[in-house]
C-alpha cells in the first residue's frame, strides 16, 4: 500500500487483514494518519539496503 490517498474500502480490507473490524467512522477518523504513516514508510522502501541483515538484537549479551 503505497498510494497517497486511501479509500474506505482499502482501509476496511487492511483492518480486516490485520484482524480488526472497525466501523467506517473509526476508519475515516484515522485515514489522514494512515496516509501520513504510509508516506513516511515509503522512505524505507527507497533505501538501498544491499545485503544488510535485519537487526534482531542490538548488543552482545
Amino acid at each position: 500500500m503505497t498510494s497517497d490517498r486511501i479509500d474506505l474500502d482499502t482501509l476496511r480490507s487492511g483492518a480486516r487483514l490485520a484482524g480488526f473490524a472497525w466501523t467506517d467512522a473509526e476508519l475515516d477518523e484515522i485515514r489522514t494518519q494512515v496516509e501520513a504513516a504510509l508516506r513516511l514508510l515509503r522512505v524505507l522502501e527507497s533505501v538501498d539496503l544491499g545485503s544488510t541483515e535485519p537487526t534482531t538484537s542490538f548488543r552482545a549479551v
Binding site: G14, E26, L27, A37, L38, T55, F58, R59
Partner: protein, 470 residues
C-alpha cells in the same frame, strides 16, 4: 542542613547513613510536599504514604541497631506507573489497568529496594507510554511546574516522573524511554534523565510499549544521582533476555569532573539547526562551556538519522500493536482516544515494513558508531523547543513549522532506534524562564563517559540547581 526536598540523592544517602537526618524526616517532608502541591501538579497516580513511612521507620531502626546501610538506604524515590510493584496497583496510565495489582516487583524496583530505597508512589504518565506530550485524560495531565500562569506540557511519556523530580515531590524517579520518554520530560521540566544503552538495565516487570525500543532509566536532578541509581539498577537479569552480561562499572567513581581532551561532536545539521532560536543559543553556549573546560569540539553530520523516523515508526507501531491487539478488540472504548488512534494506524504497518526497518536500523547504528569511533560523545538539543502550552498543537522550529508531537520526538527517537546511551540535562532557560535541555550521546555501554561529561557540565553551571517558583 539543606531543605530535604531539594537535597540530591547522593547527599540524602550520606546524611541518612551518618545519622545526620532520619529517613522518617526525609520521607515525611516529601509526603507533606506531595500533599500540598500534587493536587495541581498531578505527578502521582498512587501515593504509598503509609508504606513509605513504615519503610522509613524500619530503615531508621536498622541504622540504630548498627546495620550496614545499602547505597540508597532510607532514600525515597518514585516509579513511573509502568513498573510492576507487588501489592501496589500498576495502571500503565490506563483506565484498563486501573485495578491491576501485580504480585511481583519489576527487577529494577526490587534492586532499588534491596539497596534500601523507599517507594513514595507511582507516577503519572501517558497511557501505555504512547506519547511525548505528557497528556493523560484518565488521571489528569501532569502540569509542568515551570509556568504558574500558562498550563504547559511536562513532556512524556514519563510526565509524572519529570514533574515530581522538578517540583521536589521526589528526589529521584524512574522513567522509560521508547522514543524519548525519559529525555523529553527531562528537557521540558529542567531535570537530568538517562536513557542507558539498550540492554544495560533490565526491562523485566515493566509494561512494554515496543520491546526492542524500550529503555529503562533514572530521572534525577543531577548526573551524579543518575550515576548512583544506574549503579544499583544495571546488570544482567535472566528475566530479561535482552539484558547484557557486561560488568557494571562503578559509575559514581567515574565522575572525575574532568573533560580535558573530551572529544565532543556537535550534531548541527538536522539537530541544532532545526531547533528554535532560544534552544540553539543555549546549546551553543553549553558547547562553549565544555570547550572552556578543555573539551575538543567538532561538528558531525549524520545522514541516516532521517531514516530513523520511518524505521522507528514501523518498529514501534508493529510491536505496540502486537501487545495491544486483544485489548484493542475488547476494550477499545476505555483507551485514551489518541492512543487508540495511534494503535489503529499501526494495523497498516506491514511485516515487510517491519523487516526493512530492522535492516535500516543496522545502517543507522553503524553511522552513529562510526561518528563515535573518533569522538567520546555527541551533543545535540534534547527537544527543539521548550515546553509548549497544553493546548498547543504546532510549533515553529529552525527549519519550519511542525506539529508538536513530531517536534518533541525528533531529536530523541534516533537513539532509541540505535540503542546508544544518552543523558539529557538542562543547559539554559528561555527568556520566559522555561528550561532548555541538551543531550549527550555515548558509545554502547559507555554510560561512564556520558555521565562524566554531564556531571562535569553541572559542576561548571547551575542550571540543574534552579527551582520552579510554585
Amino acid at each position: 542542613m539543606p531543605e530535604l526536598v531539594w537535597a540530591p540523592v547522593t547527599e540524602l544517602a550520606r546524611m541518612i547513613a551518618s545519622k545526620a537526618v532520619s529517613p522518617v524526616e526525609v520521607v515525611r517532608a516529601h509526603l507533606d510536599r506531595i500533599s500540598a502541591l500534587d493536587g495541581d501538579l498531578r505527578a502521582y497516580i498512587t501515593v504509598c504514604g503509609d508504606a513509605a513511612l513504615d519503610a522509613a521507620r524500619a530503615a531508621e531502626g536498622a541504622l540504630m541497631t548498627g546495620g550496614a546501610p545499602g547505597p540508597l538506604h532510607g532514600v525515597p524515590y518514585a516509579l513511573k506507573d509502568l513498573y510492576d510493584t507487588a501489592g501496589v496497583r500498576t495502571t500503565g496510565g490506563s483506565r484498563i489497568f486501573a485495578d491491576r495489582v501485580p504480585t511481583v516487583d519489576a527487577t529494577v524496583a526490587r534492586r532499588l529496594a534491596q539497596a534500601g530505597a523507599i517507594l513514595l508512589g507511582k507516577l503519572n504518565m501517558v497511557e501505555f507510554a504512547y506519547g511525548p506530550e505528557g497528556l493523560n485524560p484518565h488521571y489528569g495531565h501532569a502540569h509542568n511546574p515551570w509556568d504558574a500562569t500558562t498550563p504547559r506540557m511536562a513532556g512524556g511519556s514519563s510526565s509524572g516522573s519529570g514533574v515530581a523530580v522538578a517540583a521536589g515531590l521526589a528526589p529521584a524517579a524512574l522513567g522509560s524511554d521508547t522514543g524519548g520518554s525519559i529525555r523529553i520530560p527531562a528537557s521540558l521540566c529542567g531535570i537530568t534523565g538517562l536513557k542507558p544503552t539498550y540492554g544495560r538495565v533490565s526491562r523485566a516487570g515493566v509494561l512494554p510499549l515496543a520491546w526492542s525500543m524500550d529503555h529503562v532509566g533514572p530521572m534525577t536532578r543531577t548526573a551524579a544521582d543518575g550515576a548512583l541509581l544506574l549503579r544499583v539498577m544495571a546488570g544482567y537479569d535472566p528475566a530479561d533476555a535482552s539484558s547484557s552480561v557486561l560488568p557494571v562499572p562503578d559509575y559514581p567513581v567515574a565522575l572525575t569532573g574532568d573533560v580535558k581532551g573530551l572529544r565532543v561532536g556537535m550534531l548541527r545539521n538536522g539537530f541544532l539547526d532545526a531547533a528554535a532560536p532560544p534552544v540553539q543559543a543555549a546549546v551553543e553556549a553549553a558547547a562553549n562551556t565544555l570547550v572552556s573546560a578543555g573539551a575538543v569540539l567538532d561538528e558531525v553530520k549524520l545522514e541516516r538519522t532521517s531514516l530513523a523516523a520511518a524505521g522507528a515508526l514501523a518498529v514501534v507501531a508493529a510491536e505496540a500493536l502486537a501487545y495491544h491487539a486483544e485489548l484493542l478488540r475488547t476494550r477499545a472504548a476505555d483507551y485514551d482516544p489518541e492512543v487508540a488512534r495511534r494503535l489503529r494506524v499501526s494495523a497498516f504497518v506491514g511485516g515487510a515494513h517491519y523487516v526493512r526497518a530492522q535492516q535500516v536500523r543496522a545502517l543507522v547504528r553503524e553511522e552513529i558508531d562510526a561518528a563515535l569511533a573518533r569522538r567520546d560523545v555527541l551533543l545535540a538539543p534534547t527537544t527543539p523547543v521548550a515546553a509548549p502550552a497544553l493546548d498547543e498543537r504546532r510549533v515553529a522550529l529552525g527549519d519550519g513549522p511542525s506539529d508538536v508531537r513530531t517536534a518533541l520526538l525528533r531529536f530523541t527517537r534516533p537513539f532509541n532506534f540505535s540503542g546508544h546511551p544518552v543523558c539529557a540535562l538542562p543547559c539554559g532557560f528561555t527568556q520566559t524562564g522555561l528550561p532548555v535541555g541538551m543531550q549527550l550521546v555515548g558509545r554502547p555501554f559507555d554510560e561512564a563517559t556520558v555521565l562524566r561529561a554531564a556531571d562535569a557540565f553541572q559542576r561548571l553551571t547551575d542550571f540543574h540547581t534552579r527551582r520552579p517558583v510554585m
